[in-house]
């Protein structure tokens, strides 16, 4: 009862709460004090905004369907050839750090100096530009500095992007997310063809079980280093194909040829492995077929 209210108080509360009891109806606010054709935020203005927002949202959804978010191959820390690329809005910084006077011995200028000054200036802009004037053409210094910075950022971003494209061209690299989509499309087309020829639904070879998993060929392959690329479980990784299910793709003779002479990214093992060893591995790999149900 310590919180109870005395009856002689002018304000009457709802129960023992601190909410004052009102008998007033909700009075609509009066905006007549504001000049110009102002309009109530809710519902008038917000309703129109929401309609525009809905149109924008639909456009945005169409974009996400037309351009799926990219995804490359799983991160491989040993991949030395990958060309690193930050998201586009960091490119201006990335490019800045490539210039001789802001990298190497002078990197402090690049990491702290220029960005530090620029961002601090932005952060405390109201305290640097203290004049009363608001129109940008009457604030030539502030406006000019801002314009110059914007132009510099756009320029650096463009240079950085062009440089990246150039590097891709030089090294003949296709960005992984594009490569991956292409492979997926090819696989889907193949599957569609197989479907037309009355074949069964395709399975990912990595999902197939190993046939005679305890065969000595497995330890031979481990010794030869095959597993480093084709993964310890032979499910493949990144752009290296799975070896599960190879028997469906290649005959034993073809397998001997691939292992002996290599093929694209696959190194030749002639000399590293004896003919008998290659034969043994190829025999076993040729057995790796999808189970017939």
């Amino acid at each position: 009862m310590a919180l109870g209210h005395h009856n002689d108080e002018k304000i009457v509360y709802v129960g023992d709460s601190r909410v004052p009891k009102r008998n007033l109806e909700n009075v609509p606010p009066d905006y007549s004090a504001f000049p110009g054709r102002s309009e109530a935020f809710i519902p008038n203005f917000l309703l129109k905004e929401w309609m525009v927002g809905c149109v924008a949202l639909v456009g945005f959804l169409v974009l996400t369907i037309a351009h799926p978010a990219p995804l490359g191959y799983q991160a491989d820390p040993t991949n030395a050839a990958f060309i690193p690329m930050p998201d586009w809005y960091f490119l201006f910084m990335y490019q800045l750090l490539k210039y001789p006077y802001v990298s190497g011995d002078y990197v402090v200028l690049g990491t702290l100096g220029i960005p530090g000054v620029a961002f601090t200036a932005l952060l405390i802009a109201p305290f640097l530009d203290t004049g009363k004037e608001r129109r940008f053409y009457r604030r030539p210094i502030a406006s000019a500095l801002m314009l110059l910075s914007i132009i510099a950022c756009i320029y650096l971003t463009k240079i950085s992007w062009d440089h990246y494209q150039h590097q891709l061209e030089l090294t003949g690299t296709t960005p992984e997310h594009i490569l991956r989509e292409e492979k997926a499309r090819e696989a889907a087309e193949k599957a569609a063809q197989a479907g037309q020829n009355g074949g069964s639904a395709p399975v990912d070879p990595a999902d197939l079980p190993l046939v005679q998993a305890d065969d000595p060929a497995m330890s031979l392959m481990e010794g030869a280093g095959c597993l480093q690329c084709h993964a310890a479980d032979l499910k493949g990784q990144g752009s290296v194909p799975a070896l599960r299910g190879t028997g469906d793709l290649h005959s034993k003779e073809e397998l001997v040829d691939i292992i002996t002479n290599g093929q694209n990214g696959m190194p030749a093992f002639e000399g590293n492995l004896s003919t008998e060893e290659i034969d043994q591995i190829a025999t076993w790999l040729a057995l790796q077929k999808a189970p017939t149900e």
């Binding site: 996400t64 952060l123 530009d129």
Partner: protein, 223 residues
């Protein structure tokens, strides 16, 4: 009936002043594109907020599938992108929204700058706005690693080597966000925590301050 429910709640909690404070205000002529088309520049703040809401919602759905560890992260994103119904749309919204929000925020900042709206008495709101800007960049940076593909991994390595080159503090900063000597399991969980809990928390607090100040001071007057 709704009026009845509203009055019942209002009698107990006195919510009318609260929502009036938030919602019931006027939109002056000079910021209303219906009257002056050029006033569309005043929409960028609202658009930034709109996309921020999309980011938060799509992000919440992403975490229903995403697994923040180095073995499963990539596989879970791959699964979401290619196997889950509408997964590609949810991920697409979050991915493209992340870029769009930066664009909108940039345009909003330029609007505030070139209309001189950061001047007295709105200095504090500008500073809060810049802090939001940095938080947004931080969200972009930490989110970039999460799919754990090569692009994510090597970009983060570059970022960390840049952070490391800061004099004196560099190595400490690197250890702090890296969680060890290499970009690995620790880095991923750290980036995940920062991306999903720390920065959004900071963002919501800052946005609260931003909107509170806008409501208190009103939008800046016509030029």
């Amino acid at each position: 009936m709704f009026k009845g429910i509203y009055n019942w709640i209002d009698e107990r909690l006195d919510i009318t002043p609260m929502w009036r404070d938030v919602a019931d205000h006027e939109v002056p002529e000079h910021v209303n594109p219906a009257h002056h088309f050029s006033a569309f520049v005043y929409c960028f703040g609202g658009l930034t907020f709109f996309i921020t809401v999309i980011q938060i919602l799509s992000g919440m759905f992403l975490t229903m599938y995403y697994v923040p560890d180095i073995i499963n992260a990539y596989a879970s994103v791959d699964y979401l992108q290619h196997k889950v119904a509408f997964g590609a749309i949810v991920r697409g919204m979050h991915h493209w929204g992340a870029s769009l929000v930066i664009v909108m925020m940039f345009l909003h900042t330029l609007r505030v700058f070139f209309t001189g709206s950061y001047k007295a008495p709105r200095e504090m709101n500008w500073v809060v706005g810049m802090l939001i800007f940095f938080v947004m960049l931080g969200l972009g940076l930490t989110g970039y690693l999460l799919p754990w593909d090569n692009k994510a991994y090597f970009a983060t390595k570059v970022t960390l080597s840049i952070a490391e080159s800061v004099p004196y503090l560099g190595p400490y900063i690197k250890t702090l966000i890296n969680g060890g000597d290499i970009v690995g399991a620790q880095t991923l969980t750290r980036f995940f925590a920062i991306h999903v809990f720390f920065l959004p928390g900071a963002l919501l607090a800052l946005l609260g301050a931003h909107f509170f100040m806008i409501r208190r001071q009103g939008i800046s007057g016509p030029l």
